[in-house]
């Protein structure tokens, strides 16, 4: 067993003696006896590195890695360049604390400044924070940015990812924000319903674009409706899509948020991922969490610092609009490295491939006997419905080493394609689905 304690027993004794203690127990003598643990903890004995490694490998071996994956629904398998892992494994980045001591943290601060710039470039917004936990909590935090004394109602599309919706519900129940869900119609936000629901009390309107079903929303029009009553417009977006799809800025959004996982982060059974948040300049001071700014040192040399800190909990305490403290800095670094590695052309190529492959796969599944639910344009996800039970289709695919789409209900499946899905794998998967329909 190990505990990473350098001190030997002899050194311990020396230190105890110098400090005026007889024993280790004496260090804890002021703790009342009645709360102390009686005996040993009921967990196994410690192990050597070799033993731990073997044990963890055995546990990991009980998972199944699928070489072909058509599942998205909020977590996406993309190609991750080797350079990403190489950079985020550097221990100066990996093991550093939050860069409050700017003079010895310029590397991290600059990487965040670069990340903020890239997020603004992607989204067409003016200011970005240094990240929050994930896409769902980013949406919840963005709603809090919009609430004012006179506007405490949030309208959120029913066509957003269910995790986003559930997270927003939880946050709103805490803060007392009235949450109203805009119904969906034909797989998109029901614009007529929105027009009926919105009023002067509305703080914000929030949609996901492309939405949970992969559909493109009437994103520009919805923004106009929101602004018509003086409400803010929040768009939750997939960062890969921004290689080809209009930016939230172009659609008129006030706040753009999303999950940065597709930008170089592995699926990792759901985390750690990356919540990005960006907004128009007027709302900068409402952004939660850390923000890095450029400045100069005493000698006029350019440098970076955590700035606008008086917004944050460690200064504003109960008057802070968010409690966020730790963020996902290393994941933001990964996203920065990823975007630097793929470049503008690369990101566009990846986005086009996602979209193209999804459409190819949709066509194959249609030929295999499924109906495509998406009425209009979709990005890299789409929904099939068929009279074959989803469970059966997915089990057949699984038997062949393929993780099929995500079952939405008994007969509907949400599929996803990325640049990782080769034509031959799509052909093979569609063949299995067709075979499944025949038996």
């Amino acid at each position: 067993m190990g505990s990473y304690i350098p001190g030997t027993e002899r050194e311990q004794k020396e230190m105890l003696a110098e400090t005026g203690f007889d024993s280790m127990e004496e260090l804890f003598r002021h703790i009342p006896e009645e709360v102390k643990i009686n005996g040993e903890l009921k967990i196994p004995s410690g192990m050597t590195e070799l033993e731990v490694r073997e044990k963890m490998r055995r546990i990991a071996g009980r998972n199944r890695v699928f070489s072909v994956c058509f599942r998205g629904a909020g977590a996406y398998r993309h190609f991750i360049p080797s350079v990403v892992k190489s950079v985020i494994s550097k221990e100066n980045f990996l093991t550093a604390y939050t860069p409050y001591q700017a003079e010895i943290s310029q590397g991290i601060l600059q990487s965040i400044f670069e990340y903020q710039t890239m997020i603004c470039e992607l989204t067409g917004m003016d200011a970005s924070n240094a990240s929050v936990y994930d896409g769902a909590s980013a949406v919840a935090e963005s709603i809090a940015m919009c609430c004012e004394r006179k506007r405490k109602k949030a309208l959120v599309s029913g066509a957003v990812n269910p995790y986003i919706l559930e997270t927003v519900k939880t946050y709103c129940s805490g803060s007392g924000t009235e949450l109203v869900i805009i119904p969906e119609k034909d797989g998109v936000t029901d614009r007529k319903a929105l027009e009926d629901m919105i009023d002067e009390m509305t703080a914000c309107v929030c949609v996901q674009h492309p939405n949970y079903y992969g559909n493109m929303e009437e994103a520009g029009t919805i923004g106009e409706i929101a602004h018509g009553v003086g409400a803010k417009y929040i768009m939750s977006v997939n960062p890969i899509s921004l290689g080809v799809v209009k930016t939230p800025g172009e659609y008129g959004a006030d706040i753009a948020v999303g999950d940065g996982q597709p930008l170089g982060l592995s699926l990792a059974f759901g985390g750690p991922y990356l919540g990005f948040m960006a907004c128009v300049s007027k709302m900068t001071r409402k952004l939660p969490g850390r923000i890095v700014g450029q400045t100069v040192d005493k000698n006029g040399k350019t440098g970076y610092v955590l700035t606008l800190q008086a917004r944050e909990q460690h200064i504003r305490r109960e008057k802070a609009s968010s409690n966020v403290c730790s963020n996902q800095a290393l994941c933001a670094l990964a996203a920065g490295v990823y975007l630097s590695a793929v470049g503008s052309g690369g990101l566009k190529n990846i986005a086009v491939q996602c979209m193209s492959k999804a459409h190819y796969m949709a066509k194959l599944l249609e030929e295999a006997g499924c109906t495509i639910e998406n009425k209009g344009s979709f990005f890299h996800e789409f929904v099939t419905v068929s009279d074959m039970p989803a469970e059966k289709i997915l089990a057949d695919l699984e038997a062949e080493g393929i993780l099929g789409g995500y079952p939405l209900d008994e007969y509907r499946v949400l599929w996803c394609c990325t640049e990782m899905n080769r034509k031959e794998d799509m052909d093979r998967a569609a063949h299995i689905v067709r075979r499944c329909g025949k038996c």
């Binding site: 067993m1 093991t95 550093a96 003079e103 759901g270 793929v342 993780l403």
Partner: protein, 476 residues
């Protein structure tokens, strides 16, 4: 140089083959028109850029890192290896249950070990950080009172020595904050607590040992006062490194806790995150936990708690951080856990003892894993502030302690050496601290000017905040 200023148009990496199906683009009305500026670099330039940046960072292997309340202990390498296993990294969170038994085993085992260490019944790993855990824990308290039809409880009691996240989380959960002053010994003032306790109190948030590094010996009385008024007790696990294996929050009378896996359980801070803030609770709160719980049976399976507060983020938390923490716990085992806290407390007391003839210790006595010094006497005498000493430490290759916290101590420096530092490191650092004190008495100007041996000197924070420049502006 910024990454945008490196490279040349047309450079890049060869990453992805050409598309093997017919190309499809968004319709014109949804097509991006805005130019997209991303770096265009060769792989070698890219690596050199980030290596340059890494040189201007300070990690736990660069030297002593005594940030109070942050527990900057050594981050074991095997943890990283285990978190990088493809059987963990390549798993989609929505895979069928029978294909993710390994992940469930990680979550279940980590829950069992951590519940045993903390004296809790169940634990969720969904919260991504400590503050996220606080928010979650408070919602559990709220759901508990609501479930009993007890709607009059609108207040959370928080000592004035608490972390800023505590009051901020309470407000996010819809509570108002009652701040109670600490007693002269830095601990909870029982009289003040009794005055504040009443049938409008939903609960108390407390760190024990507290933020001045002392174990509140009245802890059983404190939790009793809260329980007697019908409230719940929340334990902020920021300082668990001082007592794990010795005392359990559950036995102190706490009903709900959060842990910081990135502090106590050796997972790296990553320059600010990702962390992990699991929330544990006693039986009576378990039905309200968010997300899913893992149950053992013939197979491991997901179960939604009966009256769950819902989700607080997507999926099940920062899973790879949990893998690291579990690896650490397997290494430590039941013998290693108390050794960690024992040595953390020993190192802190040793440092405090050696420094107290020079620096003013804010609260004298036996400290736990950290202690607080007040430099207000030095400042009056020499004009040298806690900030100046901190900057002087930078010039000596040492990361400063936490500055100006807790708020109840003037000119505070809060020192937490952790158990992974050796005696010789502590001795070297003690010598530097003493040297700086002498410098302050002799030549305040030298410390006002510090640091000078760092990549940049003190930065203009006022200018940065008055006229924020938050991104690079591309020409054209």
């Amino acid at each position: 140089m910024l990454v945008f200023e490196r490279g040349r148009e047309g450079r890049g990496l060869s990453l992805i083959p050409a598309c093997d199906v017919e190309l499809v683009m968004p319709e014109k009305s949804d097509k991006r028109k805005r130019a997209l500026h991303l770096p265009e670099l060769s792989e070698s330039e890219l690596c050199r850029h980030y290596t340059d940046l890494a040189k201007e960072c300070y990690g736990v292997n660069d030297g002593f890192y005594p940030l109070g309340s942050c527990t900057m202990k050594y981050n074991p390498k095997i943890n990283e290896d285990m978190a990088a296993l493809p059987e963990f990294t390549e798993i989609h969170p929505l895979q069928p249950e029978h294909t993710v038994q390994g992940c469930l085993e990680v979550m279940k085992t980590a829950e069992e070990y951590l519940c045993e260490i903390t004296g809790m019944k169940r634990m969720t790993f969904q919260p991504a950080a400590g503050a996220h855990g606080e928010f979650t824990g408070l919602l559990l308290i709220k759901a508990y009172h609501d479930s009993r039809g007890d709607k009059k409880r609108t207040k959370i009691i928080i000592p004035d020595s608490a972390h800023g996240t505590n009051p901020a989380s309470a407000v996010m959960a819809g509570y108002s904050v009652v701040s109670i002053p600490s007693g002269e010994d830095g601990c909870v003032d029982l009289e003040k607590l009794r005055e504040a306790a009443g049938d409008d109190v939903a609960g108390l948030m407390l760190t024990n040992p507290n933020t001045v590094g002392l174990f509140d010996k009245n802890i059983l009385e404190i939790t009793k006062i809260i329980h007697e008024c019908g409230g719940q007790c929340y334990y902020d696990g920021a300082n668990l490194n001082a007592v794990m294996g010795m005392v359990r929050p559950g036995d102190m009378g706490f009903d709900v806790i959060h842990l910081n896996l990135h502090k106590t359980f050796s997972t790296p801070h990553g320059g600010g995150g990702p962390g992990s803030g699991p929330v544990g609770c006693k039986e009576h709160l378990a039905e309200f936990l968010p997300s899913i719980l893992v149950e053992r049976g013939e197979k491991l399976s997901f179960v939604k708690p009966r009256n769950s507060i819902g989700e607080i983020k997507s999926f099940y938390g920062n899973f790879l951080i949990v893998v690291r923490a579990l690896t650490y716990l397997m290494t430590l085992g039941r013998e290693g856990v108390p050794q960690v806290s024992g040595n953390a407390v020993l190192n802190a007391n040793y440092m405090m003892h050696k420094l107290k003839d020079c620096y003013t210790i804010a609260y004298d006595g036996v400290c736990m894993h950290e202690f607080v010094m007040s430099l207000s006497d030095l400042k009056k005498k020499s004009g040298v502030s806690a900030m100046d000493i901190a900057k002087g430490l930078l010039d000596n290759g040492i990361h400063p302690p936490t500055m100006y916290f807790p708020l109840i101590v003037d000119e505070a420096l809060m020192v937490e050496p952790t158990e992974t530092e050796s005696k010789e490191t502590l001795d070297e650092v003690i010598a530097v601290f003493k040297k700086l004190y002498k410098t302050a008495e002799r030549d305040a100007g030298e410390l006002h000017a510090a640091p000078v041996h760092t990549p940049v000197t003190r930065l203009d924070e006022v200018g940065a905040a008055r006229h924020p420049v938050l991104k690079y502006e591309f020409s054209k």
